[in-house]
Homo-oligomer: 450 residues x 2
């Protein structure tokens, strides 16, 4: 009889977040996690004598959590961080970002995505869903950085057939790449920039490929109201009629989801999710915020996101979680709603479900991907720890993340990045940062007029 | 003719925040700051050849900012961090905090204040206003840690004459102590726990001593409504009638300030300020938020605070600033309001004014106290820096604060605390953390029934 293979990696002596529901986060002290072939092969919630593994990480004093999931971003927009501040969303697009994106080339997308990867690895994010241009370059950055990602090549109908075609081609070529770390989406920009025929074609392509559609929809209530005024239906109903909901989709950001939309989303809750990044929503003064309570009541997964760093300024999912938690309490008028356990559950299984990956990521369980972060709660800003769930939601900072592991591979150890050359990255940024914000050419990639 | 004395310290090659208004933050690259006898003695916004000083700190690549100001906290409540989570404010007081505070002894206040000091020094906070019990111990922790503080000994009328007397005694004995680093306040808890006679006596004492009254008032709209229903006047009007406004006061938290209160506060804007810590307000689901726009329009200073770590979880003023900025935009429905310059201006001169210290702290100017922090913006979460004001408001983390200087003395250098023994502190915390949350005695220090 064969003995089981020796694990590639054992993480010993950690306090592990081994399960969560909205009502309870379960932490197991003295846990040993074993990782074999990129997956979690054992979770021993009791001390193990002399753990056998090719490599052993002693995580005494650390909390092991599932790696965080950023369900929607535009990773390369880190290059435009701070380039369009203190402006409303219309001016942000038309006067700053879309003119600046005329300058964004293939090399920039590799650089900007690598910068985002560096920031996310340091912040304990192990999976991100990206929606941008020149996505072959973003995919290269994912391959090189070691992160897990769901990638979609964004398109507008104004590009003609090329945009949709390229999005389908990209999703086909990269699905399952990097040993399965890369999954893909079909990525129409939004119902206000992509026509119904293209949305229907995107849905058909997603269904054929077995992937989701990743799309902005009902980003704010103004978009929903304009759609209802112009067409008599909400953007979510547009997604339903064009088959996008039925195909399965990732919806960013849904602040304009109206009550009539909830049953439409509830009917496809097994294949639809909503991404939530409130820092940017408040900063843009968007008004009504994603109706998370109603969505969760209808069984629709909601996950955290950062959106792009040009609006959110950071790629910090701990921050998205913290702001979501306090804002949800305030919006509900109930300090007992959205407990720290609910906040952590949304970071794990719920965010995973938004990407169609429930059970694969976002949980420390046997068979799940070995995406694990080790977090140090010994900082004075965390001490004393009376409630570990509250510590992780309300006190932790990204600088407390000591080690980040994706697919069983250590990407950051004791705060040191192992897959990204920081000096080369900084040098590249110095060369490009100023040029990329030049708007003297007077052109734009698109007009914001939802 | 005597030559000027050689500075004790020169900080060279920094980019310094040398001035701010709500509309503009002025950064000067290549600045040299000179510090002599605890004060800033020169600000050279041009390179200086071979700076003469007893000590030189090369701050190349760093931003020099005025040390941050925490205008209202209960520092020792760090001991109760996470001990009362996901509960409404009434239960928080009556079921958790006030029963637990039965256990808080003199030694605990020294330990808890030292823990807060460690966290604040690491977070770039150089001055804090504290409102708590056993304040001789808090003062000792201030002396030992090297921070600057405004300290008030809290009292309830339920204590009889002793509470008020002790508060006056404390404010008298410690005013100007620690070489001027300690200033004091008279600290009645709130209009709902301190009667009008005691408020009037507190105002008289403050006037006689030349200090302010530091008090909770109109913390939420429910308190204001109850006061109006019971007495026909708002808590702010109670402060006016009892002479507290006229004496000068620090008002925490003012979420329940009503429109009629604004002119009352505007009339004493030279000696009254409001403290603002929105993380805890949202977490408590308090509803309406401090009307900052109206207060600023009336010339009433508003400053950032963290409140106690038992509600806010952290003592992080960068976080208070960030959440204030995004929340103000959202509440105003205007993304162009509360620019990053306004956020920084509130952190500096406005927060200083709340404590009656405008011109003394919160600004890098000749003659001001030498309270300076050096912040590293080279982290990937800050790069590239297209807008340094936005970087400081939206991207920076406390772990980016490298050096903290108070009164010309370096309290933290390259993230290493120089005045606090971290190991001894951790050991003390281990001993006391569990005991302090014991509620089996069934007693409480007060009843929350505003």
């Amino acid at each position: 009889m064969d003995s089981p293979p020796i694990p590639d990696l054992a993480i010993v002596n950690c306090t592990a977040l081994v399960g969560s529901t909205a009502g309870r986060a379960e932490f197991a002290p003295g846990t040993t996690l074993e990782i074999t072939g990129g997956a979690i092969s054992a979770v021993h919630t009791h001390p193990v004598d002399a753990p056998q593994a090719r490599e052993v990480i002693d995580a005494r004093g650390m909390v092991a959590m599932p790696g965080l999931i950023n369900t929607h971003c535009h990773a390369a927009m880190t290059l435009l961080r701070g380039a369009a501040e203190d402006v409303a969303v219309g001016a942000w697009f038309n006067d700053y970002i879309w003119p600046m994106e005329v300058n964004v080339g293939e090399r920039d997308v590799y650089t900007g995505t690598t910068l985002a990867a560096a920031e996310m690895i340091q912040a304990g994010v192990t999976t991100f869903a990206d929606h941008y241009f020149f996505m072959d370059q973003a995919a290269r950055a994912v391959v090189d950085s070691g992160l897990r990602a769901n990638l979609g090549s964004a398109f507008f109908s104004s590009q003609g057939a090329d945009g949709l075609g390229a999005s389908i081609d990209f999703a086909t070529r990269w699905s399952g790449a990097a040993g399965g770390r890369i999954t893909t989406s079909i990525a129409p920009h939004a119902p206000y920039t992509v026509d119904d025929d293209d949305l229907a074609a995107a849905a058909d392509a997603a269904r054929a490929l077995g992937v989701r559609v990743h799309i902005h929809a009902s980003e704010d209530i103004a978009q929903a109201e304009k759609s209802i005024a112009a067409r008599g239906i909400s953007p979510i109903e547009v997604l339903r009629r064009t088959g996008v909901l039925d195909a399965g989709c990732i919806i960013a950001h849904g602040n304009g989801i109206v009550p009539d939309d909830i049953p439409l989303l509830g009917a496809v809750r097994d294949r639809v999710g909503v991404t939530h990044g409130p820092k940017g929503y408040l900063k843009f003064a968007l008004g009504p915020i994603t109706p998370i309570m109603d969505l969760l009541a209808a069984g629709v997964p909601v996950g955290y996101c950062t959106d792009g760093a040009a609006s959110n300024n950071t790629m910090d999912i701990f921050e998205s979680m913290r702001i979501t938690a306090i804002l949800q309490k305030q919006l509900a008028g109930d300090a007992t709603w959205f407990r720290s356990s609910a906040a952590l559950h949304m970071a794990g299984p719920e965010s995973a479900a938004v990407l169609g990956m429930r059970g694969q990521i976002g949980e420390l369980r046997v068979g799940a991907c070995a995406d694990v972060i080790l977090v140090d709660t010994s900082g004075f800003h965390c001490q004393p720890v009376h409630d570990l769930g509250a510590t992780l939601v309300y006190s932790i900072q990204t600088s407390d993340v000591q080690t980040t592991i994706v697919d069983g591979k250590v990407l950051m150890r004791d705060r040191r990045l192992l897959t990204i050359d920081g000096d080369a990255l900084r040098s590249e940024l110095r060369d490009r940062a100023r040029e990329i914000t030049d708007r003297s050419h007077g052109r734009t990639i698109q007009d914001y007029a939802p």
